[in-house]
Amino acid sequence: MAQFRVCPDSGFYFDKNAESLMKANAVAGAVFLLIAGLLGLGVILTRWQEVHLLPADVFYQVLTGHGINALIFWIIFFEIAILYFASSTLLRTRLAAPRWAWLGFALMIIGALMNNIAVLQGNSSVMMTSYAPMQAAPHFYLGLILFAVGALIGCMVFFGTLVIAKEDRTYEGSVPLVTFGAITAAIIAVFTIASGAIILIPTFLWSIGYVGHIDAAMYRVIWWGMGHSSQQINVAAHVSVWYLLVGVLFGARPMSEKVSRMAFLLYILFLQLACAHHVLVDPGLSAEFKVFNTSYAMYLAVLASMIHGLTVPGSMEVAQRQKGLTKGMFEWLRKAPWGNPVFSGFFLSLVIFGFLGGITGVVMGTEQINLIIHNTIYVPAHFHATVAVGTTLAFMALTYLLIPVLFRRQTFLPWMAKWQPYVFSAGMTLMILFMLGAGTLGVSRRHWDMDFTGAMLAFEYPGTAYTMMAVAGIGGVLGVLGGVMYLVVTVGSLLFGKKLDESAGLLQGFGVPLAPSSYTVEQPERLPMAPKLAVEEHGSAGFEAPGTFVLAMFLLVCFVVYYFINWDYLASVWPLS
């Protein structure tokens, strides 16, 4: 019989099995983030040319490890925890097949360790993308495959849990929006893992000699079929987390269920098709394919993100205005709980994802503009804005909620938690902005030495490129400090944080009576639908969230201006046809 406890602070119900699995996955994720962060420090201190910390071979090894541990292991472990939360906890149901879930977890751990060992042994410094025909040791690929199988099992457990919830009728009406977003992420994950299998399994067989040849161009197209859609998993997951956090923090409801859900659907329909923006300057792909793939397939997903970009802060604004924060355009924002890391982490993640990650991504994914950006350090700058701030910081903000709610601990060093999102995003923003700049000057990514020491021919980047990489270096160090603060708070809370037996009065409790948190419940009451609201207009000019609209228009103006600046820059380079 399943056992549940109700969190007296939040009112969330936790199935005992699901709870342990969420804890295990979240903690594993944090451990891999720690590894990734330390390796990231080595990377940035080498790219900062005046410091130039590591020798070439170690640099490439460390960069391979940084990319894989951060982008794959940290994020996916945490996402599995989110899937279990969004199904079992949010729908008040027991987790399907907990043994399978533990098997998946074990496979993920084994796979991640195996891959890390391969990289550590030194003959697998092939970067996260492992482009054939450069070859890594067989257990490099095998580790990734095992990890993917484990993650696939996690997705299946998630779907199974949804089925159980439906059969047991544990909720009324439709699934909540947050769960809907998680379903999106999981569906895309299944597609992703399928195309990952299509490319990684032959590559593994090739590395042990069973397959003679892997076509290098085909590898890139299929690899990015997986590589890009896996980024869509992240977007769907962190957008769901944003919706969850505005719900928890402000009692916000989506401005329109329909619009937000349609936007998630657009992710499913269009995102996993889009691989072309990674291969825009590869030989032999037709212009029609590239234009179609980047626009039809991608812009509809961009549209979806632009919609969430309005509706997430918009729903927060509506909720704040209903509480009476109606003065002017921005009182709802000024009077937000800026000292609460759950809020500041969420909001910074949203802003930096939109302004830095979103805009740069669309610009460099434009067929012709990609010519002036491909493989420059601009590219890692872009995806640090999307995954290293957008996704990672959203997950960090969620962690600050989970410490009391899931782990039932008081936050260790709350002042540090309070500052962490600011330090992390300030550092990362600095690094991102200056790497964008250096990329525009042509500085290449995955490159050990801007001085080209030992080359037969000589080349010098302009002095500004060095300055930019140095400032990026300072930003990166600050970012790593922010990452360390996160780990000190989380690990400290789990080890030394005061245990919360009774309600600590941390959250408003969502109307659930406060009770000691023990596993007393056999089956929670059915999850009710959200209460109906009397329709009220709190904004001006018929707009429910005018402040958000102003912010969204500001984003659009930045977007348009920056987009055309890049066309202008493109027009200045050598004619090609």
Binding site: S256, A287, V362, N375, M456, L570, L576
Partner: protein
Amino acid sequence: MSSFLPPAERNWWSTPVGKQEVIWVGIALVWCLIMFLMMPYWHLYGKQNLSSEAYQTTPAKFQQRVDEMVAQYQVGEEAGMPIVKPPVGSDVYMLGRLWQWYPILELEKDQPYRLHLSSMDWNHGFSLQPVNINLQIIPGYEMVLTVTPDQAGEFTVVCNEFCGIGHHVMLGKIYVKEN
């Protein structure tokens, strides 16, 4: 508190959408369409477009074509590498291999050339500096594009796709002379 509760209305798909969201979706959609149209527009009126001309090849075949060009049009040598000055408008070749771009090319300003690029071993990145044109060079594939250098001077090809321990010494040169 309803983003994580089931929607308040059972038929949430038929509840009306607020004016603000409708307007924003409209604006965003128009913007996406403009961005879409910019790409075909640039194919018609812009000067920087990548051709989709490419052939499957083998390292040996490509190497042979490079060697023929070098034998015919070599005009000098720098750092042990031949400098080649092929005729205006002709097919010119450059190969990437661990860890050099070979050979050095000498071109005339404002004249078109058909540039063929391929790799002998792994992926390489053709990154022309300081112009900042970046192309992915893949073994087994020969990419052909028409370039018209519109500045005179010394240009460097940096390798910007990771290609092993010597990646950072992989440089090539293109000299563009006024005619």
